[in-house]
Assembly symmetry: C2
DNA sequence: CTGAAAGCGCTTACAG
DNA sequence: CTGAAAGCGCTTACAG
């Protein structure tokens, strides 16, 4: 075993103090350190294979260079797409990301947050579960910076980066109307989460603007608390009634589940029913009829979230107006709504 | 802001020493601490909302309760399925998981490993990129425990948990043969990675055992170094030649890409070509013909990896014979090979 | 049964 | 230009 090298070892080998080694390696006070000494230290550190112990460093500097990423549900394609982007972007600033999923559960969300707080993450990027405003307020009390993505709380002044969900849904449904579909159904969660409410609103408004009557029977409402089997059953039930000629699925997982049921029941897209859903997943090209979908600007969401968070980390005690960004999404028309 | 409470604050409030608080909260020497004092300390700690600073704790105990998870490619469904399982299992032992992707790249793998080492992870679970044996040897030198999953190095004594890839491929191809398909093609990566070689071997052996001649033209070889577009093009090229009546895709991503090309070129499964692939992904139910596939025991792989790793962490200096587990996979027959 | 003190490996004012 | 020393918030022999 090659024992782990400490700063002390480097200092001894170079015949200087630990302080100097620390200065050189962190490029502090470069102006007033002897060039040759600096060079010697750098070389010796390299020869010995010295890497600073981040734990010790963190204890002293009170910075861990770690971001806690709280996801709603890790199996959701949105989650790992965004996780990947956030990790890459964070790496550019020498931050690591530690991610966890709260599975849309209030309690799990709280536990996860506590775990990350104890691990001294410098800040959070959060896809918030429903009714977790008080957890976020707790973070504010602790002066731990965070930024929300995907979901937001309209009543609060938290920073967020989201898309215009109302507009996205409105566009999608208007497209189906233009295409001549008569009975357009919505599959969505019934929840207090504003972004999903917005999607429902976009749907109902587009229907209303087309001069049609709103029909409760056209909405398939799921609960986020249901287990996968219950969700599946409810969707299957709804599909079987065949009270629609087009379906707008308000989330990617709901969309995929709907398509699976279509397959099961031999309902052909778009002949028997047109289909539009959220997010660009593998399903888009994999389904026999390429899927019309709403494409979120994932890269922008991830990058902005990281940049804003790091800015806040570096200016913790300088209050600023809330940073609330609403990005545009893209509507991609394919065969499934042909 | 409610200032963060330290152990000192609790000690002061309780009128005892920090040492005692530490003992009580960590349940050390419970036998020789006054019950009432202990109770008082516990209550006060709770009232003040005390949580130990994990960084300080780690510095002293040299344990971070963190596992570094190195993935081959985070967008691969295998990766996040297994990541999820590992996170959940690790949580049972109060370990957190910090994950990263090396994108099948040697250099990125090295950087990632160094980052995790500096962050003092207690151990690694690794889906190894090709030719990274020396990186693993480095970990051994540092006495940092690790266990490989999914992939292994037959020449080395590293711990691993994998499936019998040869057998899985052999079974899949034999099934196609029994079904009467005449020209069975393989889509796989050309690589030094043993688990993928095993899959090719299982394929060629099954073909040979059926008394057929091996035909080089039946193998579509990809390179892991190719970018997605190149991979796509090569598969498209291969598909277009139509020199097959069945395809066995040796990885899930290759399988999904193949199916996308089938759609593009209006090749119907299983009428124009039968199809079998690795892994249970959303694609299985989403494709119009339910996919025949090899189902890996993900839960077992993840759980065993975590359990073995934690065992090693707790017994670092007690050498044991290598722990090399080969699990069985399940072959699930569906319509795509009907 | 309990406390004073050292130490984990760094960083950083301060003194010279 | 450089070093001695304090301190981050814990844990843990050791002494009593």
């Amino acid at each position: 075993m090659s024992k782990k090298i400490r700063i002390k070892d480097v200092a001894a080998a170079a015949g200087v103090s630990s302080a100097l080694v620390s200065y050189v390696l962190n490029a502090r006070h470069v102006d007033r350190i002897n060039k040759d000494t600096a060079k010697k230290i750098t070389e010796i550190a390299k020869d010995l294979g010295y890497y600073p112990n981040q734990i010790a460093k963190s204890l002293k500097t009170r910075k861990t260079y770690t971001i806690g990423l709280m996801l709603g549900d890790i199996v959701n394609p949105f989650s790992h797409q965004i996780a990947r982007i956030i990790e890459d972007e964070a790496k550019c600033y020498d931050y690591a990301v530690i991610a966890g999923s709260c599975d849309e559960d209030h309690e799990r969300s709280k536990k996860l947050m506590e775990t990350f707080v104890n691990r001294q993450v410098d800040g959070f990027i959060i896809v918030a579960a429903s009714d977790t405003e008080n957890q976020l307020a707790y973070l504010e009390e602790l002066d731990i910076p965070f930024v929300l993505i995907d979901r937001y709380f309209p009543e609060k002044n938290f920073d967020y980066i989201v898309i215009d969900n109302y507009q996205a849904a409105y566009t999608a449904v208007s497209h189906l109307i233009e295409k001549g579909y008569q009975k357009i159904a919505l599959v969505n969660y019934e929840t207090s989460l504003a972004h999903l409410k917005d999607r429902t609103l976009g749907y109902t408004q587009a229907i209303a603007d087309s001069g049609r009557m709103h029909d409760e029977a056209s909405i398939c409402s799921l609960s986020m608390q249901d287990n996968p089997q219950e969700t599946k059953n409810k969707i299957a039930q709804f599909i079987k009634n065949k009270n629609y000629d087009a379906i707008f699925a308000a989330t990617n997982t709901l969309g995929i589940e709907t398509l699976k049921q279509f397959n099961q029941l031999h309902i052909r897209v778009p002949d028997d029913a047109a289909f539009v859903c959220f997010d660009e997943t593998d399903a888009v090209d994999l389904f026999y009829a390429k899927l019309t979908h709403i494409r979120q600007p994932m890269q922008a969401i991830g990058n902005l979230a990281v940049q804003r968070l790091i800015h806040k980390i570096n200016h913790v005690y300088e209050p600023e107006p809330p940073y609330q960004v609403v990005l545009k999404s893209e509507f991609v028309i394919n065969e499934s709504s042909g």
